[in-house]
């Protein structure tokens, strides 16, 4: 059984190539950086070299998008082996992925596809989490994704599913406040019920991001600043969670680092108000 991750309450940013020079050549006022694990699960070359250099200067959280923890057929052992190699080298602050699936029958969608909130899916997700945590030798964090589709036959809410998953596997949680906002809007549930429903003591990290308005639904696009509604939800979340590592994700329309640091100062202000 792997042990819990330490409580860490700093503020960070996603490390993107547009800002590599800033992080390597200046002292960026962040407490940690988060990287997309798969971008560095390569044999060698500049990406891994840069990550080693960044790791010498900042704690690093590894955030994956391809573990496919909800897949019906068990995890990809080659993927786990490569992730384990990266984890062993980087000694990250956290290792996280999403409560979603992308792989089925030799096909990989490369998207965070929704899991049905059923007993069968819960059994499968828990078995997969046990497998991943056993291979990695550490407790993982799993993030609630944005979703655009709910399945008939669900027998529990998303937060009930997450609570049962955490209880049965010992995994911890990455709460994406923007994803709660987007999914609540798309599916018509109460975002505060989500925040009240998850086990607060298991949340180790919080994500903030921007979204966009699609046709009839909100899209988790990570291409714009955090909106007022998400900041308000973050403030409510922090009241419940207490100090917890928080970072801002921006994956498209990436602005100069100074703009993201200014956005991050908003999170610091809200966190300090607790």
């Amino acid at each position: 059984m792997s042990t819990s991750n330490p409580h860490f309450s700093g503020y960070g940013l996603g490390l993107r190539k547009e800002h590599y020079c800033d992080f390597l050549e200046t002292s960026v006022p962040v407490d940690f950086v988060e990287v997309i694990s798969e971008n560095f699960m390569v044999a060698g070359g500049q990406p891994r070299h840069i990550l080693r250099q960044v790791r010498e200067r900042y704690p690093v959280a590894l955030h994956g998008v391809s573990m496919s923890i909800g897949t019906a057929e068990g995890l990809d052992t080659d993927y786990l082996r490569r992730l384990k190699s990266l984890v062993d080298e980087i000694e990250p602050l956290f290792v996280s992925d999403h409560l979603s699936w992308s792989r089925s029958g030799g096909f990989n969608a490369h998207d965070l596809l929704p899991v049905p909130y059923t007993d069968e899916a819960l059994d499968r997700v828990c078995a997969n989490i046990h497998q991943a945590q056993d291979v990695l030798g550490r407790t993982m964090l799993f993030e609630n994704p944005s979703s655009y589709l709910a399945f008939e036959g669900a027998c529990m809410t998303e937060w009930e599913f997450i609570t049962a998953m955490a209880r049965r596997t010992g995994c911890e949680l990455l709460l994406d406040v923007n994803n709660v906002f987007v999914s609540a809007s798309n599916h018509g549930f109460d975002a505060l019920a989500f925040l009240d429903g998850i086990p607060a003591e298991r949340v180790r990290q919080v994500h903030l991001a921007g979204h966009s308005q699609g046709r009839d639904i909100l899209i988790d696009s990570h291409d714009s600043p955090v909106c007022t509604g998400v900041w308000e939800l973050y403030a409510r979340a922090m009241q419940r969670l207490g100090p917890v590592a928080t970072m801002i994700e921006r994956d498209d329309e990436i602005p100069p680092l100074a703009e993201l640091l200014q956005e991050l100062s908003m999170a610091r202000t809200l966190g300090a108000a607790l």
Binding site: A43, G44, G45, R48, S66, S104, D111, S147, I217
Partner: protein
């Protein structure tokens, strides 16, 4: 419908967008359309990022049409999107069967991408050669090295596109040659070579034997010229950091 069946239906929706799969997933067309769009946009973006100069060469519309053909016929299977561009050259051969320049440009960009993240290896220090028995020496080439036949002026086209200058018209080479792609430190390199050097590199890639290289070149060029050519290649490959190890067997 169990979890595996649901995921198979979702796969069919993403790949084929069939009404049957949509019905199995609950006919939420707005939500399904978002996932369908994400899937296809991500794969188009992956190919655009992997082949920027090929895209310029073909033009936006032709590249997009080839990408759509590829996505329709070849759903991704690997855990990493980095693997998806690997199969694009086969689609290009189907779509542009009379355009070897297109096939060779695609190979160049694929090889450069692969070399960029290939395993690290330190170039061989000259001191390592001092005590070597050349009759039994086995050379180890960098793991980032990729080799390919060259029949067109694709290297000149790619270089012009990369430098954002006017690219030449595609023409067949008077004599077929080869392409080498490898990484020096953190920078991927591309070099056009003649057919003899391509075969020589491939000979060393296959068994590493320096004596075998000499024998191959002697057969092609004669005793004196063959041995001299082997020495010249060795010096050039060392200078280019193509050789990363050597041992006696």
């Amino acid at each position: 419908m169990n979890l595996a069946q649901l995921q198979q239906a979702f796969r069919r929706w993403l790949v084929n967008a069939s009404d049957e799969s949509a019905q199995l997933l609950g006919s939420n067309h707005v939500g399904l359309a978002v996932y369908q769009n994400n899937y296809r946009a991500q794969l188009v973006g992956c190919l655009e990022q992997a082949f920027p100069n090929l895209r310029r060469w073909l033009g936006e519309q032709a590249f997009l049409a080839a990408s759509i053909t590829h996505i329709d016929n070849h759903p991704p299977h690997a855990w990493t999107l980095d693997a998806y561009p690997e199969g694009f050259h086969a689609t290009l051969k189907d779509v542009f069967p009379q355009n070897p320049d297109v096939h060779e440009l695609a190979w160049i960009e694929s090889a450069l991408n692969e070399a960029f993240v290939a395993a690290d290896a330190q170039p061989l220090a000259l001191e390592a050669l001092a005590e070597l028995d050349w009759d039994t020496a086995v050379l180890q080439l960098t793991p980032s090295l990729r080799c390919h036949d060259l029949t067109t002026n694709a290297e000149a086209i790619w270089s012009a596109l990369w430098q954002e200058t006017c690219a030449p018209e595609a023409v067949m080479l008077e004599q077929a040659g080869g392409l080498l792609v490898w990484r020096r430190q953190f920078t991927s390199r591309l070099r056009q070579v003649d057919a003899l050097e391509l075969q020589a590199v491939q000979q060393v890639q296959a068994d590493g034997s320096f004596a075998g290289l000499c024998e191959f070149l002697v057969q092609r060029l004669g005793e004196d010229a063959g041995v001299m050519q082997a020495g010249e290649y060795l010096a050039a490959w060392l200078g280019s950091e193509l050789i990363v190890g050597v041992r006696d067997v």
